[in-house]
Amino acid sequence: MREITFLEAIREAMTQEMERDSRVFLIGEDIGEYGGAFQVSYGMLEKFGHERILDTPITELGLTGAAVGAALIGMRPIAEIMFMDFTTLASEQLVNQAAKLRFMFGGQSSVPMVLRTPAGSGTGAAEHHSQSFENWFVHVPGLKVVMPTTPYDVKGLLISSIRDNNPVVFIEHKLLYKTKGEVPEEMYEIPLGKADIKREGKDLTIIATGIMVQKSLAAAEELIKEGIDIEVLDPRTLRPLDTESIVKSVKKTGKVLIVHEAVKTGGFGGELAGVIAESEAFGYLEAPIIRLAGREVPIPYNRDLEKAAVPQIEDIVEKARELATLKV
């Protein structure tokens, strides 16, 4: 099958949906001529014109609210926040309005919108352009939160997100943009709320999100050489979470390592730990639930420090080995 990049898969999903459904449009900063800070929407202005590619000045709150309002009357906007760090400016509209309007109005309306945003470190852009806030939005009933990890997944998940009748926060790790993979040309949906076992194994379950899925897969390849057989589970959708798949995998392996890039304290790993520790999988646990996640620091500029601030393949190998070989 044809191989394209993660970034191209996003562009293709948006383009195909815009061709299919005239209610879909893009709104964001520098998404027109500039093509988006990461060139995700490059070329789309030529195709769809200024009527459907709405380039805005720097107005995170305003443009997010504009997406909410348009969705409220039946459009299907895709808003882009250039860096996830700036969702701090947009969260009022996302959290108080988009997430709540339907419930607050007793079901009279819905807010079918997608807010796409690049997250994560690794580009040397330092403290204000590197954060991962997924658990903030997981904490908000009314929102859905999607974190795709492969070109194939990102296309199917984005199409589902656009077609979903609820506000979806769609988080793209920057270092995934140039990764390549097989992606069908036709449109397809990957249902929100379904985890994917990216690698089957029997000794230990790694639950990883975003870029950590790729790093965990690489770690698993290392460890199989030592005879340690790792299962890598990618939730893909963080809210709603596919608890069933998680419980099943942990019951099978009896051990679990949670890996994410976001800061450990208060992060999504806690939610995963909580879900497992209160489930029937608890009785099957042969070792503590271990979280390997971002260190308790802002993301620094210096390249070595930046790397040290988030889990790397070696860190995963080490923790996974330790846990897999632990006798309790």
């Binding site: 000045p57 997010t64 609210g65 997406a67 309002g69 509209q93 419930f103 607050m104």
Partner: protein
């Protein structure tokens, strides 16, 4: 602008309904039938009704926390509205929203908001959507003088002008944001002037207690918006008679000031106008008033007899299917 008798009767009735609704709301609260808080617009009726009287039924409004008048002006069913105020299952929002969050989406009322400035960015997006749908509809977006100090306001004005949305932004300047006087905020008198600089043609202030003046100013802006002339910003100068909400102790203003403004009662002003213009006799006006109050009494009875939501249904309706 000359009103028809029919319209005069209609606006007069709505004004009394709003006043009666809010007096009733206050009574129900005092009687312990209602929990939470509420924001009464008594004294501001001309702004809501004058503004919304310029719309077609297919047009939209989006409101703010002080929104009872806006709802009624947009034609809300008084029973469903009162039931919502009482938190009942058959209220507009199934009792989930209450006073601060009433919406009547089918009737074109896209809802009140508990966040000051919360509706303004959405208004831009609604305008974008209306423009894309090209059905010639217009939105009125209401907010208070306090909301004009928010970042949401500034960003939204810029976007509204950029995308030339068919939206009339209406600032109901009732002189205070809680205790914060519009005179303290050094730009208060200048909100409309900002509008001009943002590039909104015809931004202006009105005597917001004068329904006729409000209707004329908003009407012109609605016409311009409908014809593709883009957004406007209109400031209706008015006054709230009651405290900000139930927590208000009125420490920041004098009784004299309140009394001064009560003399400018928008209802009496409109009534006098109608009588002078021979649109209504005093007797007709009295009958309308009576009808207004009895409509609300009927709504109260309806609301109090209505069922509470079932606790088992709590988690319903968070997500759309």
């Amino acid at each position: 602008m000359k009103l028809s008798k029919e319209n005069a009767e209609h606006y007069m009735l709505q004004m009394y309904q709003v006043r009666a609704f809010e007096e009733q709301a206050e009574k129900s609260y005092m009687a312990g039938k209602i929990h939470g808080t509420m924001h009464l617009s008594i004294g501001q009726e001309a702004s809501a009704i004058g503004s919304i009287s310029t719309l077609e039924p297919t047009d939209f409004i989006i409101g703010h926390h002080r929104g009872h008048g806006l709802c009624i002006a947009k034609g809300a069913d008084l029973n469903l509205m009162m039931a919502e105020f009482y938190g009942k299952e058959n209220g507009y929002c199934r009792g989930r929203g209450g006073s601060m969050h009433i919406a009547d989406v089918a009737g074109g009322n896209l809802g009140a908001n508990g966040v000051v400035g919360g509706g303004i960015p959405m208004a831009v997006g609604i305008g974008i959507g209306l423009k894309m749908k090209a059905e010639n509809q217009v939105l009125l977006a209401f907010f208070g003088d306090g909301a004009a100090s928010t970042g949401a306001f500034h960003e939204s004005m810029i976007l509204a002008v950029l995308f030339q949305v068919p939206v009339v932004f209406i600032c109901e300047n009732n002189q205070y944001a809680m205790s914060f006087s519009a005179n303290d905020w050094t730009t208060s008198k200048k909100i409309a002037a900002h509008g001009e600089i943002y590039g909104m043609a015809g931004s202006c202030s009105t005597d917001g207690n004068d329904l006729i003046e409000v209707k004329a100013a908003v009407g012109a802006a609605v016409k311009r918006a409908r014809e593709g002339g883009g957004p406007s910003l209109i400031v209706n100068d008015t006054y709230r008679w009651r405290g900000h909400s139930k927590s208000d102790r009125n420490r920041y203003r004098t009784t004299e000031e309140i009394e001064e403004w009560k003399k400018k009662d928008p209802i009496l002003k409109f009534r006098a106008y109608c009588v002078k213009e021979k649109l209504l006799t005093e007797k007709e006006a009295d009958q309308i008033k009576e009808k207004g109050y009895s409509d609300i009494e009927a709504a109260r009875v309806f609301a109090e007899a209505s069922p509470d939501p079932k606790v088992e249904t709590l988690e319903e309706g968070v997500y759309a299917p």
